[in-house]
Subunit: 186 residues, 2 copies
DNA sequence: AAATTTATGTCAGCCATATTGACGTATCTT
DNA sequence: AAGATACGTCAATATGGCTGACATAAATTT
């Protein structure tokens, strides 16, 4: 019976479990490595911002709202709901905090006066810029590890990882910018 | 004052907010695009598994536990806590469910009988394999969009995005496997 | 003009997942 | 024998999701 020594290292990820494994699952063609790399990379990536947000008494939800409002000034509440894929009740709480504490302001729409267009204040931009700075530092460090063309390869990969069907308006903007027919196309 | 038309498209992401922006934040060298691509890519990537997990009454936490137990058979509870970066109280609940429902089994350590070594059962492997299959399909699709060498570039980028200091044992295994001195090194 | 739809906000409650602190027990180490 | 370690558990709390219901103002349709 597999008696593995756990004092130091683990068995190679592909070693067998003692009980045997279900033969039903495909085992050779699964991208286990990239799945795990994505987990760890994203964990540490958002960790940068999370630590800083604690200081302000905010969570990841606040960051996401502030980020997209900053990046797409005049965003409507409905659009934010599409992007974040949460309910308006959930959004309401964090949005109210950001409004109350002066990180975001609302502005009644000119075409449609029902709309509350959202804008980041200077205070909000300062915070979101600080957070983006932390995350940019990590990205910059990572890009140094690969060839110069690698940056565009990474962008293409990440874009292709995103659901292309039924994109909301923000996502459409992102996908359109240097989209499918970019420079480094094969 | 910026009167933006919201009926169709958004302004380019770099357009100015109406109130002006804090000049204190650096604005030219921030990797806004990659920050957003990571957000959307990860959102859809984990979404694949999330949908399937709902069927089983499980959440993302169950997936992570099952994944790492499957990949690193004989994982200790303490190691799992290191990897997932949660408290043992949080882990306790999901782990208990997975044990009760037969996705994972415990085995007392041979060297140290205090340890509860964790292994995925056939049932557990079937589930984690199914989930990995969904995520692999997305990754495979994405890799088709880039040059063949691009896959290794993506791995290098993701590895470099991970905190290299103080890696736990699982992470050490991952980083060691085809680590810093891999083939496609510049 | 009246009816309907849309955009937004809010109240009330529920659930999953995380947290901290305290304590208990078995086992290994010194 | 004493202390440290690995794990489990009880209790209380916070955050960030959720659903359902309802209200208001403004736009749109009839």
């Amino acid at each position: 019976m597999a008696d593995i020594n756990f004092s130091g290292t683990y068995p190679a990820p592909d070693s067998r479990a003692p009980e045997g494994r279900s033969g039903a699952v495909r085992s050779g063609d699964l991208h286990w490595d990239i799945i795990e790399l994505l987990f760890f990379a994203y964990r540490d990536f958002v960790g940068d911002a999370d630590h800083e947000l604690e200081v302000f008494g905010f969570g990841r939800a606040h960051h996401r709202v502030l980020h997209f409002v900053h990046r797409y000034p005049g965003l409507k509440v409905a659009d934010l709901l599409d992007v974040l894929r949460i309910t308006k009740q959930s959004l309401g709480r964090v949005l109210k905090q950001l409004l109350d504490e002066g990180y975001i302001v609302q502005k009644t729409g000119n075409n449609d006066r029902r709309q509350r267009l959202l804008f980041a204040t200077a205070k909000g931009e300062a915070l979101v810029g600080k957070l983006a700075g932390l995350q940019t530092d990590r990205i910059t460090r990572a890009l140094r590890e690969i060839r110069p063309e690698g940056a565009e390869t990474v962008r293409q990969f990440l874009r292709a990882m995103i659901d292309q069907d039924d994109p909301d308006k923000v996502l459409e903007t992102i996908l359109r910018t240097a989209g499918p027919n970019s420079k480094e196309r094969a």
